[in-house]
Symmetry: C2
Subunit: 269 residues, 2 copies
DNA sequence: CTTCTTGTTCCATTATTTGGAACGTGATTT
DNA sequence: AAATCACGTTCCAAATAATGGAACAAGAAG
């Protein structure tokens, strides 16, 4: 058999065992994560598939509405994704439970509040509550950012024990988004230690210049779900002092959310 | 050419020609569109698949993050959908082009403005601009509603010629959401006629009691894209008089969006 | 203890996907 | 105008993945 000779331990390759679906979703990712619209040939060069095969795969994806093809012949993510996602969002019980607490935290601090869950080494934002001028709704929701340089991400990571943490961040690459971004696993590990002791994470312009935040971890008893809640704002308003001042509020919000999760979802059948 | 031999009008079956992917997406729909979390057996009874087959299919979907399985063993839409959708939304050029016009229309009327595209006989909302208190952001975005009882939907349908219209609504079922909902194809057809003459559609509590709106169609020259823009609000504020008053504004917004579409997307390569 | 119900695994059979090559078509060059 | 090229699309035998029935666990109910 040609399968996976040697029992390679990686398997970092996302779901290489889902057969046809996996190959197709790789294409969806390719299209959705690229910054520019992609033509058939662009995709062809990035995916190592024969032309005929790729063509049929893309056709199927378009047929199913996961991709769309615009008048220039470029492939784009399809709106069916939007439609499915809106269901996923509206019915997400975790988000629903957390929402009132996010609102409270927003009211207490006046700054933007985020709720995000950890998926692999990325944070996916599930909800956002802003103050007055809603700059751009939706925006952040659904967005994926690296865990190692975001408040919510680091907070969530801090809920893992050393072994699980090590396994999860193995092979992680550190991209320097700003001059404050952690450069290595050692940096991150030290920060995580501090976060564990402190009970909350700070992000002082590590992901985006001029943006600071304070975040607290949310986790289920069996750690099958890791998340975080944060208060974020521009550095000129969100000073180190403010961060310290808000830390207890953020921790309280996280605690309250976990509490509610327990009473609403805890009683498992 | 084998193209459309015989011009078979069937093809109503949603993408039954996408092989494995089609079957899997049917399952995703099943889970995403149900109102309650579904257990394995629930899905089993709705999909006519053997147990073993269904189990593997669901496993693959979970593996790929399109579905998730909660601690009760219930299947839910996965957050990867959210993440993909946020890309789809942020990069949607139509939405981007339309946005400033939606804002203007919102400012002019003070009520909520929607942008939606027609997909089959459903409208999918692409964007929404609200006034002061953003009751609940996201909410409507990505939502799918029947075209025959929504302002945006009827407006979009009115851009079709009789033949295309007939083909599209063939077999459409009319569900009576309110006492004003169209009950039959004849009702709808008559309304569409009026909308064509008038250049805009009214929805007077046809989809939801107490909610009225006025909408105008947006379409590309070759009709490969049908959409609409609307102003919506509670019946006590959005009186018949207001609807008439706003009609020109809504039509102007639609016209402006089409204009911009032409100059930004028109020059095809 | 026995009998259901629910979920999971296995594997020969079957259907789908694959990949290479050939075919169109319009643009660019000779 | 003819020849060449870049880009998509279609076809079909061969390779591969999905199928479905049955057997296997593990609880819950009788």
């Amino acid at each position: 058999m040609n399968s996976r000779q040697g029992d390679d331990m990686r398997e970092i390759r996302r779901g290489r065992e889902t057969g046809t679906l996996g190959k197709l979703m790789t294409l969806v990712d390719l299209v959705a994560l690229s910054d520019r619209p992609m033509r058939f040939t662009d995709i062809l060069s990035l995916s190592d598939q024969p032309r005929g095969t790729l063509h049929r795969q893309l056709s199927h994806l378009v047929e199913e509405g996961l991709l769309e093809i615009d008048r220039d012949g470029c492939y784009l993510p399809g709106i069916r994704l939007l439609s499915l996602a809106s269901r996923s969002w509206a019915r997400n019980e975790f988000r629903t439970v957390a929402e009132p607490h996010l609102r409270l935290l927003q009211a207490q601090t006046g700054e933007t509040v985020h709720l995000g869950v950890l998926r692999g080494t990325e944070v996916i934002y599930l909800d956002k509550v802003e103050g007055r001028q809603s700059v751009r709704m939706y925006s952040q929701i659904g967005n994926a950012s690296p865990a190692y340089c975001t408040g919510v991400g680091k907070a969530a990571l801090s809920a893992l024990d050393d072994t699980s943490f090590g396994a999860r961040v193995a092979g992680l690459e550190f991209h320097a988004y700003t001059e404050h971004t952690h450069r290595s696993l050692a940096d991150l590990r030290a920060d995580i230690e501090a976060i564990r002791r402190r009970g909350c994470a700070f992000d002082r312009e590590e992901h985006e210049s001029g943006i600071c935040c304070v975040a607290a971890p949310i986790y289920s008893d069996d750690n099958d779900m890791l998340a975080g809640v944060s208060v974020t704002g521009p550095a000129y308003r969100v000073t180190p002092g403010k961060l310290e001042e808000w830390a207890p509020l953020v921790k309280a919000a996280a605690a309250a959310i976990m509490q509610d999760m327990h009473s609403r979802l805890g009683p498992r059948r």
